[in-house]
């Protein structure tokens, strides 16, 4: 893929790769809706130029499910009513999956602090926290 250097990673993911699951909420790195995994680490794709991703491994929300099987995090969000409008959801999913894959034993406090990285305007966070906690347990059990 050849892109203009000034195009951001999130724009290229959405418009050139056609993967519109990653959303743009602010374009200034505050809301976290654009969070993807870059080499396994959650990062804000609006804060990177697409050309910088050359040779790196990217994971977006579309890659969470395996065939028909949902990722435990996705299942947990559904089960615990962790989303309303769904706009912030992909960002939260990738943030949570990325962090828990690296650090499966996060304390509740650490988890809250990490979830405070992203903004949600609908849920008041309560069910997002519940969902992520439940998914953390599932992910550990499945590991």
């Amino acid at each position: 893929m050849i892109v203009e250097p000034r195009r951001t990673l999130v724009d290229v993911i959405r418009d050139d790769c056609g993967l519109t699951g990653t959303h743009i909420g602010c374009e200034h790195g505050v809301c976290g809706a654009c969070t993807i995994l870059l080499d396994g680490e959650p990062m804000r794709s609006c804060l990177m130029f697409a050309v910088q991703a050359h040779g790196r491994s990217l994971r977006t929300v579309e890659g969470l499910q395996q065939g028909e099987r949902l990722h435990p995090m996705q299942e947990a969000f559904i089960r615990h009513h962790g989303l309303q409008c769904g706009f912030c959801t992909p960002g939260f999913l990738m943030l949570a999956v990325g962090v828990l894959e690296k650090r499966p034993d996060l304390s509740n406090e650490e988890l809250l602090d990490i979830l405070a990285s992203n903004l949600c305007r609908c849920t008041g966070y309560e069910n997002i926290i519940k969902a992520v906690r439940a998914a953390a347990a599932s992910m550990k059990a499945q590991a």
């Binding site: 203009e4 000034r6 195009r7 959405r14 993967l19 519109t20 699951g21 990653t22 959303h23 743009i24 909420g25 602010c26 374009e27 200034h28 505050v30 809301c31 809706a33 977006t60 929300v61 579309e62 969470l64 499910q65 949902l70 996705q74 969000f77 559904i78 089960r79 009513h81 989303l83 309303q84 409008c85 769904g86 706009f87 912030c88 959801t89 992909p90 999913l93 809250l112 602090d113 979830l115 405070a116 990285s117 992203n118 903004l119 949600c120 305007r121 609908c122 849920t123 008041g124 966070y125 309560e126 069910n127 997002i128 926290i129």
Partner: protein, 759 residues
């Protein structure tokens, strides 16, 4: 029942379809050039350089759309307010930073933004008004910046004050803030020349009403314009109104012959999408010696911003009508000065007119308690309207509807709430901790909400030959779980699994009329219409089944999508098969109309009034002035909860927004009208760290008498009284002296109060 949502699967797998995800071949991208100044005479706009940029198709200014009228009011023409409507593109004057001046159309969004910077504008600066309290000045010609005063009242306020045992007087302000959904606005205009249909994609909230308005504005028949809702990333009242950009993409689609896509960025959203909430109330209340309200006289100043948009004066009118809340009030007078300032125009935001007046009224109640040495609980108890007095008519109008408090046990809910949080123990704890030097306080707020705005809604239900049911509604989804609730209601009536029900919404081409989703009405109205239609479908199914099974219809029921005998004996027939028998060519159809389908309408004379109690325990850090919420309770009556998990989600989500308005969020301006809160770094939306755990007490004690399902709706019940209860709690923590006169409350304000008291 709290079933899982039908909406969720595409949303968690990244397959949702928000307007930014929609694209059409050959589309152009629109970028708006916006006024950099808050008030000025627009002299010249140079577009040549922008037009010359490769990739730019056109650059429009007001002259290019001279035939378009200004954006009208949703409720219809209003001669008095008409001169204050917003033009689609500024002509002669600019009145707020962010006002659209020109529109650039280009093949690529980056190029469109490049081109927009090449448009140069010459504006002669004029005097800027940023304070709605300041005396009105000139708007244009002989028109002044106070288009009207919203007045409501009854009784004899003057006499009542004369006879009062005590009077309290407060000057209270609510800061400017708004919904700020996580998805910014967007719209795509597309003209299907083959069918002569103009399409607007990215519609939200009130597609049918907007279709009517747009048709009128553009001189088309409603049959020639259709709106399509995508997934909407949060509405809150702000998203879905008709904005200049919506008009532009439609007109451009026709005139440029290509689909036109527009997405705003966050900074644009903060300065161009509807603001809300900013009011200043100078309120007096008269009471007798026992603390019974005799009269309230409220003079308030509503900061409307630069223009009157689609809601007209609705927010200020509602404020007047709903201010008394759950209390008996023999005499009342409200004068709402509806004032224009050089700021982004304002309109409705979740619980409009109530968030503001709940804060004001509950501060008044606290002040009365203070003045008469009564407890804050007792003063409210003495004034609450009782269930025996209901339906309680107030000679007031809110949301265009007469206020009739239909049902409610206000005192009962108060007692439940007090018991739930063990108020007596909390009070004792607070006293003990205070004597140990802590700044802690309890807050209490009672309120009445409004929902189920009618007058009427209709749905169509059709069962196909596979037994899959489609409910076609004129509703809208802004993320609240509309589809799931309607599916649940339909499924229960038709004896099927709710996952077999597909709910259509936000499509004007699928159903002729619709009420959309606003004023917490979707569940109330559409669900009840669904019941009516489902009832007819059920009756038709049983009628056919009775014939085919050779049974009496009264002995039959539907279970798991099959019509069976109620006693479980004998043959059965699936709904899908019944639909098959009702096909046009079926020999068994008889005289019946084809299709296992029906239409159903629900009409309601009045809105319904859910109500609530909020209690908060806060602690203040005397070193920094920071406010920490230790306990939070929302007790809310919803009449009947179809899906309690969704109701809870609405209340907690609303609470978080209310918290934002109480402590964090504000659209600030400098004295030249330059907006200072244009990013999510300056406009502070609460994060998971700031939102405390919230205890929710859902009460279903007083089902609505206005609809058979008894539903009252919960969309606005969480946010409504948060400003009120937090202010009450912080005030209590600072000694209960009425020192909080403004929300949002900042640590800096708190710190100054604490230090002044100490020094």
């Amino acid at each position: 029942m709290s079933v899982e949502r039908l909406e969720d699967l595409p949303l968690v797998t990244g397959h949702g379809c928000f307007v930014g995800d929609v694209s059409f071949q050959h589309q152009l991208h629109m970028r708006i050039v916006r006024s950099p100044l808050a008030h000025g005479r627009l002299k010249t706009i140079e577009v040549a350089a922008a037009c010359a940029l490769p990739g730019v198709s056109a650059v429009w200014t007001a002259n290019d759309i001279a035939d378009l009228p200004p954006i009208d009011f949703r409720e219809g023409p209003n001669a008095k307010l008409a001169p204050f409507r917003q033009p689609v593109l500024a002509k002669d004057y600019v009145r707020y930073v962010g006002e659209p001046i020109a529109a650039v159309f280009a093949t690529d969004p980056y190029v469109a933004e490049d081109a927009s910077e090449l448009v140069s504008v010459d504006i002669d600066e004029l005097h800027v008004v940023v304070d709605a309290f300041a005396p009105p000045t000139q708007f244009v010609g002989a028109l002044m910046t106070e288009p009207t005063i919203c007045r409501q009242g009854y009784g004899n306020v003057t006499a009542a004050f004369k006879n009062a045992a005590a009077v309290v007087e407060l000057d209270l302000s609510i800061g400017r803030h708004s919904g700020v959904p996580l998805e910014t606005r967007g719209a795509i205009g597309r003209y299907d020349a083959a069918r002569d249909v103009l399409e607007l994609h990215g519609a939200a909230k009130v597609p049918h009403k907007n279709r009517e308005s747009l048709a009128r504005m553009l001189g088309r028949s409603t049959a020639g314009i259709h709106l399509y809702e995508s997934n909407v990333g949060g509405g809150f009242g702000v998203r879905g109104e008709i904005y200049p950009e919506d008009i532009l993409v439609l007109v451009a689609a026709i005139r440029l012959g290509r689909p036109v896509k527009w997405l705003e960025d966050r900074r644009e959203h903060m300065i161009a999408a509807n603001h809300s909430r900013q009011q200043r109330h100078r309120i007096r209340a008269a009471v007798d010696g026992q603390g019974h309200l005799l009269a309230i006289d409220d003079e308030f100043f509503h900061d409307q911003g630069a223009y009157i948009r689609t809601h007209g004066t609705r927010v200020a009118d509602t404020a007047c009508g709903i201010l008394p809340g759950p209390y008996r009030l023999p005499h009342f007078q409200a004068n709402g000065h509806f004032r224009l300032t050089n700021k982004t125009p304002a309109a409705t935001y979740r619980s409009p007119g109530r968030y503001e007046t709940n804060f004001v009224r509950e501060q008044v109640m606290d002040a009365i308690a203070r003045k008469l040495g009564l407890s804050r609980v007792e003063v409210r108890r003495r004034n609450l309207i009782s269930p025996e007095e209901m339906p309680y008519e107030r000679p007031l109008v809110a949301l265009g509807d007469e206020v009739v408090l239909d049902s409610g046990d206000y005192e009962g809910l108060l007692d439940k709430a007090l018991a739930r949080c063990d108020w007596a123990k909390l009070e004792a704890d607070v006293l003990r901790r205070r004597s140990a030097g802590e700044y802690v306080g309890l807050g209490l707020a009672m309120y009445v909400e409004k929902s189920g705005l009618g007058p009427t809604d209709g749905v169509r239900i059709n069962v196909d030959t596979d037994g899959v049911i489609e409910v076609i509604t004129g509703g809208a989804s802004v993320g609240q779980g509309f589809e799931t609730v309607i599916a649940q209601v339909c499924a229960e009536m038709l004896g099927v699994n709710y996952r077999k029900v597909r709910v259509v919404h936000g499509r004007t081409d699928r159903i002729e009329h619709g009420i959309g989703a606003h004023a917490t009405r979707a569940t109330v109205m559409t669900a009840n219409a669904t019941v009516v239609a489902a009832d007819k479908v059920r009756a038709k199914a049983l009628n056919v089944a009775a014939q085919l099974l050779q049974e009496d219809a009264s002995k039959l029921t539907i279970s798991n999508g099959k019509v069976v005998r109620a006693d479980g004996v004998g043959a059965y027939i699936s709904l899908g098969d019944i639909a098959h028998h009702l096909q046009p060519t079926s020999s068994t159809r008889g005289d019946r109309n084809p299709g296992l389908a029906a239409e159903g309408w629900f009409t309601t004379a009045h809105m319904t009034y859910p109500y609530g109690v909020q209690i908060a325990l806060v602690k203040i850090d005397p070193g920094t002035g920071a406010i920490h919420i230790e306990k939070m309770l929302i007790a809310f009556d919803v009449g009947r909860a179809i899906n309690p998990a969704l109701v809870r989600g609405q209340l907690v989500g609303g609470f978080a927004q209310g918290l934002g308005g109480a402590l964090f969020e504000e659209f600030q301006y400098d004295d030249r009208g330059q907006p200072l809160s244009v990013t999510l770094a300056d406009y502070l939306i609460p994060t998971a760290n700031e939102v405390p755990e919230v205890d929710i007490l859902l009460a279903e004690d007083a089902p609505s008498k206005c609809n058979p399902l008894g539903i009252k709706g919960a969309g606005e019940g969480g946010v409504a009284a948060v400003g009120a209860v937090i202010a009450s709690a912080v005030d209590d923590a600072l000694g209960g002296k009425g020192l909080i006169s403004r929300i949002p409350i900042t640590p800096q304000t708190i710190k100054a109060i604490i230090d002044n008291v100490e020094t």
